[in-house]
């Protein structure tokens, strides 16, 4: 409005966001004349709002409305007339040498971790991690920001490898991380509403790197699921520049932000076609799909009608959602007469009075209970992992690290 339309403007933002918008203004090269009423202005009585308007700007200490009038009438300063955009310098590739103890402290105190212990990204470890792909370490993979408007930070294959080391990954996980990084999507954008995200992997890579799509797939009993999910969080912090109260404004935060519900789809036990095939990929392709939303609502049992009713009750993203269903549920739904996910989608959309394209299904779990979970996640993107895999195939350790496999019924006695 100021620059393009030449309209003198006062942006009004509550005082809680002073630092956030002042930074934004600096990033964009105009020192806009913000005025800050107290926070919040939503869901409070009108009498209190009038008090805000008649009262002071808590940031400047000046009467609020006269400050607005002044912001529209006081001549521009030289600094305002000729703003200088601050170009931020690049960080050196290496941090100054220090002891292991001090470096752990540095990473933690600088906010470069998720609060849990990390593996320090030494040159040797990063070089080993880079054996997980054929790509040039200095190839730019993407740019990311957890905010809508601030500067996006650029990252290379090597930077993704640094994050992989920190998260505790092995080179076999790197192609999945590069695919995730290539989407440029942070796991938690800076909305005060506290978003969360979900990672779901399809295709042969699930088994090659030992991901869990079966029993307890969403619980902390699988190495690959754990470190891949964590790595996306560390990318979002370090590439997305997430700094609480500065660029990151989740009011409550979200526990799913730690691991992003990282899992694989149980394609083998599903009665339906895999998610990535629905989206046009070949069954033999490996893909990763990223979802975004807020809520993971269990426990649910029952037929398609119950699924439609649950979706109808869901309010956070309208009537959009992704169902995570145990393979037993997919079999029951097939018995109900739904031959494909598409038929099920059409039925639920009609019953819930919504659009079919707003409904998605993932089959995951170990067939101990015919449960389904309704999330309000919507898919952001599905991307191929294959182009990040070395020509010689996934780089595995001689003896790959694996947690104990779930104990499964092998003799048929349990009825599975």
């Amino acid at each position: 409005m100021e620059s393009e339309y030449r309209i003198p403007t006062v942006p009004v933002v509550t005082a809680r966001f002073e630092h956030y918008v002042q930074n934004d203004s600096r990033n964009h090269g105009m020192f806009l004349r913000y005025v800050f009423p107290p926070h919040p202005v939503g869901f409070i009585p009108k009498e209190k709002l009038r008090g805000y308007v008649d009262g002071l700007n808590p940031v400047s200490g000046k009467p609020l409305m006269p400050e607005m009038v002044e912001a529209l009438t006081k001549p521009l300063t030289e600094e305002e007339k000729n703003p200088v955009i601050e170009k931020r310098p690049k960080h050196p590739r290496l941090l100054p040498p220090d002891t292991e103890e001090n470096l752990h402290r540095l990473f933690l105190e600088n906010g470069w971790t998720d609060g849990l212990p990390i593996v320090l990204p030494t040159e040797e470890r990063v070089a080993e991690m880079l054996t997980g792909t054929d790509r040039d370490p200095q190839e730019v993979v993407g740019r990311m920001s957890v905010t809508t408007h601030q500067e996006r930070l650029e990252y290379t294959v090597e930077k993704v490898a640094v994050i992989a080391v920190m998260a505790g990954c092995r080179p076999e996980h790197l192609p999945v991380l590069l695919a995730i990084a290539s989407t440029e999507i942070p796991a938690f954008p800076s909305s005060t509403t506290s978003f969360s995200s979900m990672i779901m992997v399809n295709g042969p890579i699930r088994h090659e790197i030992g991901m869990n799509c079966g029993l307890a797939a969403l619980s902390p009993f699988n190495y690959a699921n754990a470190v891949i999910g964590r790595a996306w969080t560390l990318m979002s912090i370090n590439f997305g520049d997430a700094r609480p109260g500065d660029t990151f404004m989740h009011s409550l935060g979200h526990p799913i932000n730690y691991n992003n519900l990282c899992h694989a789809e149980n394609e083998e036990d599903s009665a339906f076609e895999p998610y990535h095939v629905e989206k046009g990929f070949k069954p033999e392709e490996s893909t990763v799909t990223l979802f975004r939303g807020w809520n993971y609502n269990g426990i649910n049992l029952g037929p398609a009608k119950a699924m439609a009713e649950a979706l109808k009750r869901q309010s956070s993203m309208g009537r959009a959602g992704t169902f995570l269903m145990d393979p037993l549920v997919s079999a029951h739904l097939k018995d109900e007469g739904f031959k494909t996910k598409e038929e099920l989608r059409q039925y639920i959309a009609n019953e819930a009075e919504t659009f079919p394209q707003m409904i998605n299904f993932i089959v995951v779990g170990g067939q101990t209970n015919p449960m389904w979970v309704l999330t309000d996640y919507t898919p952001s993107i599905t991307v191929s992992i294959d182009k990040w895999i070395p020509k010689t195939g996934i780089k595995k350790d001689e003896k790959p690290l694996r947690m104990p496999q779930p104990v499964l019924c092998k003799d048929g006695i349990c009825g599975i």
Partner: protein
């Protein structure tokens, strides 16, 4: 822990000179689509200038634009009430921005340019 000095890589992404930009109104749901997030560059932002200020608001038209955040519409009504009580010669026009709080509304900006003198836009937060 070992007291030997070790060298590690900096995990942070590098400044790119590429920034996000407000969404086009033609697709308000684009906020959910990572491939539809518009960007701008440091270079293209260079040379942006704030508009010249008015000598006075007396007798002028000020648009009060509510952004869609909770409480914004009620806040702007109170701002309008303040002008009516304290600066009655100022004509105020209350408007709601179309789309949602993340989208652009160039039609409204054009209307303000043609029919107004200044704008107060909010409330963010």
């Amino acid at each position: 822990m070992s007291k030997n000095l070790i060298t590690v890589l900096d995990p942070r992404g590098q400044p790119s000179g590429i920034f996000g930009k407000v969404l086009d109104l033609s697709n308000p749901m684009a906020i959910l689509d990572p491939e539809k997030q518009p960007t701008t560059t440091l270079e293209s932002m260079t040379g942006q200038k704030m508009a010249d200020r008015l000598d006075t608001l007396e007798g002028k038209t000020v648009y009060l634009v509510e952004t869609g955040f909770a409480g914004a519409a009620d806040f702007m009504k109170e701002v309008q009430g303040w002008f009516q009580r304290n600066m009655p010669s100022v004509k105020t026009v209350l408007r709601s921005k179309r789309g949602n709080m993340f989208t652009d509304d160039p039609e409204l900006w054009q209307e303000i340019k043609e029919n107004g003198d200044a704008a107060i836009v909010g409330v963010g937060g």
